[in-house]
Subunit: 680 residues, 3 copies
């Protein structure tokens, strides 16, 4: 546990509860009511100033801190700590009006203008200079303020620009990456194809609008560069606030499955991971991807994390913005905690009266304290202290799921694959879902993670893999680990070049087979797969022509062009084994395949025989373990056998060998620690 975060935890003495607070949107008279209602709701932390640049620096270099002084004082007097944001996500109009070159230009040449947010090119020196100035001014003024508990650097760092400045920055990045060796870049980008060889660095540029398709390695490197450029912006502001005071956590807020920034690299630069997440209440299954994101956030640093933004009810960015029905917001909040969050925070405290997000829900809605949403927020604030003991607790998993940004970019950045509608987060989620529904704990790993502490690894969509990862994977399996691997993995290297002499490239040894053809299905085409036990299922979308070498088939195609060929194989490898799934199994079959693999590897679920709509997660510390059980059904009651007796912290009722959960109910069952402590 990071010492700065330990300080914050000690200060808050409980789960952080609060949200974005934008007093600059309201008259002074409202502020007193805000603080009073925050106290009533149990708020102990607010994020201040996220979009306040224009209020703080209305003209270049002229600062107006009076209002913020007063708000900080008011909050402090109310016992509410402040997560102070640098306001650099939304530059004032004077910046883009005076310096239009800071505006972002997109790949198709369009320039985004002022009047939204993220209307800046993150590589712009001018932007960075102004961002540094306001950051410095804030740090200088507020580093010593007693309300200050944490720094929130900018907000939801977004995509990159295709400006001339970005091109120059990209070239610099490439020179570093390729050791100033243009031939190395030519090789990496395979510029031998389509006459793309560069002979001087100044010819190199970001991907340009292509007549049809552009160089896949160039696109990939630009994604990597863009991710690094965004992280640089964070680091430069972080270093400024640290230079004034070094004992507070500094972080920015991540987003759900955000493609443009490699959060593994980024998390290492922060004191803790923080997540903004808005699962769509309009979809029945949004809890699955949410759980995976939560596990990813916990795994990024192997520590509890901060749920920085969620909606009290509806959002405002979709065509249809559904509300969260009664109980859903509470359930989603506990789901985050179950997977390692040490906070429940919202965007935002009070619903805006105008602006784009005027109908985004808030802790305090337009219709005020009479509204259902307020009542649920208030009730949750009152309830959270009951589980305060779980704060800071860790978790342990014997299964890990790969989620890696290079793998993502390899599968989705470039066109030209056998099929081009891959959805990397979707594929990983599909393979994670059986674990969630089967009540197995899972961590998330990257290409660079230590795999040795797991028993089972689930790899999906890893079309691109690094040599280091392959080597680690081979050691992992050779040492007795179990690998479950999806189709189309291992095929290309980190330059998007096909590994030879045969498919699946780097994974040929692991899976004990070569593949001579990837065989995407026609639209609407299905084919039967028959398992050794005689069960069959109907697959679609993808096939492979697998030629086992050391592997043996577990399932075969029973119809279609590949009838009789293996669809799922199993390969012994050292002391371990690999299950390779060469087609897209239907969810129920994938569920059975994943869970059989996991059980064969000797891993036990957190609870046995619970319905799949109940979610289970466990946190623990040196004294106790906390089993979270969440009933995601809004109609069915669930009876769940629990592994050890304890007490449901939310009700204070003792739990024996089972617990019964009403629809949307949550139980947090505390048991005394009996085994070695879970990792923190």
């Amino acid at each position: 546990m990071n010492a700065r975060m330990a300080g914050l935890r000690a200060r808050l003495r409980g789960f952080a509860f609060g949200g974005d607070y934008n007093p600059e949107q309201w008259d002074r008279a409202v502020w007193d009511e805000d603080v009073a209602l925050m106290r009533r709701a149990g708020v102990n932390l607010v994020t201040l100033g996220v979009f306040a640049w224009a209020s703080l620096e209305p003209e270049p270099g002229r600062f107006e801190f009076g209002w913020l002084d007063e708000v900080m004082d008011l909050l402090h007097a109310g016992g509410i700590a402040v997560d102070l944001a640098t306001p650099t996500a939304a530059p004032p109009v004077w910046l883009s009006h005076g310096h239009p070159e800071v505006l972002p230009v997109m790949e198709d040449g369009k320039t985004f203008g002022f009047g939204n947010r993220l209307h800046y090119d993150p590589t712009s020196p001018r932007y960075r200079q102004h961002a540094a100035r306001i950051t410095t001014a804030l740090a200088e003024r507020y580093s010593g303020h007693p309300a200050l508990a944490m720094w929130h650097i900018s907000n939801e760092y977004g995509p990159i620009a295709y400006t001339p400045g970005a091109a120059a920055a990209f070239r610099d990045w490439l020179r570093r990456r390729y050791g100033d060796d243009l031939d190395a870049l030519n090789d990496a980008w395979y510029t031998r194809f389509w006459s793309q060889r560069y002979t001087s660095w100044d010819q190199v540029a970001p991907p340009e609008l292509p007549r049809s398709w552009s160089n896949p390695a160039r696109r990939l490197d630009f994604q990597r560069f863009a991710s690094d450029a965004l992280r640089e912006c964070f680091i430069s502001e972080r270093d400024i606030v640290r230079s004034y005071r070094d004992d507070l956590p500094v972080l920015t807020n991540f987003m759900r499955f955000y493609r443009h920034a490699d959060y593994w690299r980024w998390a290492a630069e922060q004191d803790a991971v923080a997540l903004d997440i808005y699962p769509d209440p309009g979809r029945d299954d949004s809890r699955v991807a949410a759980a995976l994101n939560f596990d990813l956030m916990r795994s990024l640093r192997g520590q509890p994390w901060i749920l920085m933004e969620q909606a009290a009810s509806a959002v405002s960015q979709w065509r249809v913005n559904n509300v969260k029905p009664p109980g859903r917001m509470r359930l989603g909040s506990y789901q985050a905690i179950a997977h390692g969050a040490d906070s429940v925070m919202y965007f935002q405290w009070r619903a805006s009266r105008g602006g784009h997000e005027r109908f985004h829900s808030a802790m305090l809605p337009h219709s005020g304290t009479g509204a259902r949403t307020w009542r649920e927020v208030e009730a949750l604030g009152a309830e959270l202290p009951r589980i305060a003991e779980a704060l800071g607790s860790g978790s342990r998993a014997e299964i890990a799921v790969l989620f890696d940004w290079d793998a993502w970019w390899g599968l989705e950045t470039a066109y030209g694959l056998p099929r081009n509608d891959f959805d990397y987060p979707g594929m990983v989620t599909d393979h994670y879902r059986p674990l969630l529904e089967g009540h197995f704990a899972a961590d998330v790993v990257s290409f660079d993670s230590d795999l040795s502490r797991y028993r089972v690894l689930v790899v999906a969509g890893a079309h691109l893999v690094s040599d280091g990862f392959v080597a680690r994977l081979e050691r992992f399996v050779a040492a007795g680990g179990t690998l479950l691997c999806s189709y189309f993995c291992g095929v290309v290297d980190p330059h998007n070049q096909v590994r030879q002499p045969a498919y699946p490239g780097a994974f040929r040894g692991l899976i004990g087979a070569y593949i001579d053809e990837y065989w995407p299905a026609r639209d609407g085409e299905t084919f039967e797969v028959r398992f050794a036990d005689g069960t069959t299922s109907v697959c679609d979308w993808w096939q492979e022509s697998i030629h086992p070498e050391s592997a043996r088939a577990v399932a075969w195609y029973a119809s279609g062009s590949l009838s009789g060929r293996p669809a799922v194989i199993q390969n012994p490898f050292g002391s371990g084994r690999v299950v390779y799934v060469g087609t897209r199994l239907p969810p129920a079959t994938l569920h059975d395949t994943v869970l059989a693999t996991v059980r064969d590897a000797g891993v036990a679920p957190l609870v046995e025989a619970a319905p799949d709509f109940v979610e289970a997660a466990r946190r623990g510390n040196e004294h106790a373990e906390f089993l979270f059980l969440l009933n995601h059904s809004d109609t069915r009651t669930a009876r769940v056998a629990v592994p050890a007796p304890g007490v449901d912290l939310l009700t204070g009722v003792a739990v024996g060998d089972h617990v019964s959960l009403d629809p949307l109910a949550v139980a947090v069952i505390r048991t005394e620690r009996q085994r070695q402590p879970a990792a923190t």
Copy 2:
């Protein structure tokens, strides 16, 4: 009745019948045939010169009037009056070639080029200067021509541009609107949100291409500005032609449900309202929106109006351009007259041989006088004089439907609503349809209209309302009026800011309830609504969590998240009452709800018990009343009971207590006036 229009009516001595005439597309030899065939068809008015700028002024300042002199003389000799157009809707190539800055630039930065029409920025001083010159030259030359009967200013004024010039004009407009007070603009635009505060006027600009979503109040004001800018163009040309001769009507042609110009404000600047309308023959229900547009046109000035353009058969702008089957063009023409039109005019007289609209139908088709379309045009021209007595007659309604451009812009201009697929004209049409199908006469009103002469007001989609309208509405209901109001009304003020302290803002008192949540349905979700009489219907799309204060429920949700809560409520308010419909009722249920409300208010239909596919409308003058009955079915005969005996002017046959209408048939039943005259 406007004196200038009275002059025109006296001159034409009957319904105007004719169309756009473009002799500049044809050789001289064709003109004589044109006039001969016009006479054969009964044409008495043609619109001349709409797209003739390049023919009249082939080079800047060099005019070629000879051909137009000859055409005017020929028409006059043929007894055909001329509606002379200023040709400013399609500037010649020399304008945009010589001054590319007059070309319109769109929000995404694309510039539209020469070669279509409306290829100009209406705020461009250069464009306006050249438009004034050709207008002046035309007025000077033709004001005294005996054929001249009306001025037609430009054509179908279209949308606005995002040029630097438009930005400057927008800033000037804003300074006037906000009294040169930038703080007032900052407040109105809620620039406190997302750091959008302006500190000098030169920073303010039209909405720029946003990375995601832009400021809703800024978009709204830009719509208002654009509407005003277009109207300015009209006014400046109108004033020129008026300065030469002041006794002729001057107007431009409006369009069906045209979003970018507030026709209420515009109509006040014209001598009469004129409409171009092209109901899609490919849709079964296009007559409903047509009728609403007709009623809107009549209501804009409370006077008979001019059907300026319709198609003789197919148009040419859609993917599929369906023809009007036999009888449909005649029926649609009488429908316009029934709702107040004093003309039947077409685009265009003779089908073009080339150009984009070469397959747009015409009075005289490509295949000539042998074509069915010609025969139907000729027959209508011969028939119209039979109802000449109805010319200039007015109408009277006890019901009014709100159609307001600010309401429209408030619902559709900006993203970020609970759902973002609102269709304002569609919502109004849905609520108007029951009146049409139930044979009730209705006027249309705006936020600024006098409501006191109505008994029932139907308000739909008025998410944005002005304070003045709310006050007038409250007086109207308090004085005994009935208000039927759709969901999501009254919520925001004219700056798109949410009215507080609770939903539905300005309408809380009227509906006698507050709402704590707007609750859009998931895609595909439905829910049952049960009425007090036990009938049920299946709704979708929208719900609200209504908390009655003084209202009582009329219908309740019987399934879904809001089961048991009120869906439709009724509130006594002063001497009147309000029916508030908080969900999207299916058409049949909305039909029943609207008609029950209207009947409860003591309003009677024009005819009783006619089938819903028969349309009824009544016009009247001091001598007689004219009951129009139109059978819109092409398969069913209708028997309609008529309220008073009379004579069918089209057949000359006496009508007793009922009339029988063949498929697509029309009757115009004249009865002697027995009551006070209808308003004119």
Copy 3:
């Protein structure tokens, strides 16, 4: 037969077999393996250097020919001839980096950048100058090389640009076309409409982004200009290589149904026609359009042609790139030969390791000689010599199908038709399909072709027709020919202007009827058509109101608005007759109508009573005839009666009165010539 092609044929002594070879993508060590495997596969011709510009001229004017010298020598030593490409389809980065004005700008103002291919404006003098230099250098160096057998000019010439340079070139082209007479252009473009008259040439420009729709004649001329501009690029490079050596074939590779270049005009500039074709294995019917393209390629010069590129299996440009199942690649290769190809060539020899096309299949796949694709390629290479006798043979047809680029552009270039979802190649394919399924041989003709040698002409989608074609058509029918003609033909002239005085304009005499209305169906609308024999079928999409003059009806509408009116008519015209189909018949009915028409004209199929999934084609020379029979079903065996006994060249087995074909099987039945030789 072109003498240069005769030389090539003599040199290859068999069908050309090979593909694109890109040694610049591979290290030197791979080249020896390449040549060895080429020999093993029977490769005798490779296309070299298509995308090698950057490898040959890494900096402006500095050439690196060493590697190509070595490759040419190696191939020559291996007995493999070279089709040497000018590499001008993919300019090196130094060209567009140093001269950004060579980049293509699209109609909407977007510029395509470097990093794909075809990133040049074909009208750019700078581009042409550099293209000429590399072409000259290649010709100078390799014209005398013994491996050189053919020149391949550039690659798949693509669309045009909207740069200022293109505008200037377009103006020059127009001045030539209209004899420097601006009035002629104004007339042709019907600029009388919408005020588009030009008064000086510098005002004229390519179609600009229109607010709604642009001038249809302007769009049409720009298409013609674009086609000519591309052809000019070809000609200028062709003339350079010819100036060094005049005895080798020079050509470029055409594409399937390529809209932007008129291949009739282009083919006349080449020594032979070459085609790249990638029928989608994901569609069941892609063989029909393939056959039509093959017949088109043969007809363009009335000679055998070169299948220059096909895929060994999957391509990489679609969302889903399906593989060719076993046997399909062989079948498709024989299909091309059956329709006149003298080669089987592929893109490409060895699968790329990187770049956009890394997953495009190749003769030598990623997984090497163990892959199924390689085995099929190798087997085909070994089998082709068995039919070597058929090389150079011609064919003869009594039926011709019109496929003309002006007709295409007339139907699809401009909006504003009664419906705007016409698909010209699709319409022609629909009318060609019955001939293919009925085993009739067909040629393809243009507006300018000699029609006199045919007995039946099938014209579909010829909305635009030239006067010359109409005259030729009338002579053809008057002289006893049979014309089958689809709806909406003959309507406009080559300026997209409607022919008058009545529809269908130029075809009124031929069809013996006038039409007063084109009557597109509503979406989803159907109507019954009843034939004289009482059979009925359900049509949709299109109707016409036909008024027979000399024609008689063959089928009538039995429902819908036109019930009772003729749907299909037949007209005697001179000694011949015309069958006019005024609606879109369903495929089975169109099949019967076309085949009845053809049989009534006395034309016999190649084989009688074979199933429709068997394709038949015949080639012949002075000694023998070769009947190709291809079973396109992958499940059904076919028994086919053959007209004369012979020998199946593929099996060496004698064939009596019939042959039995397994699924996907091919037979090439040689019979001694008994009649006069087929045309070559």
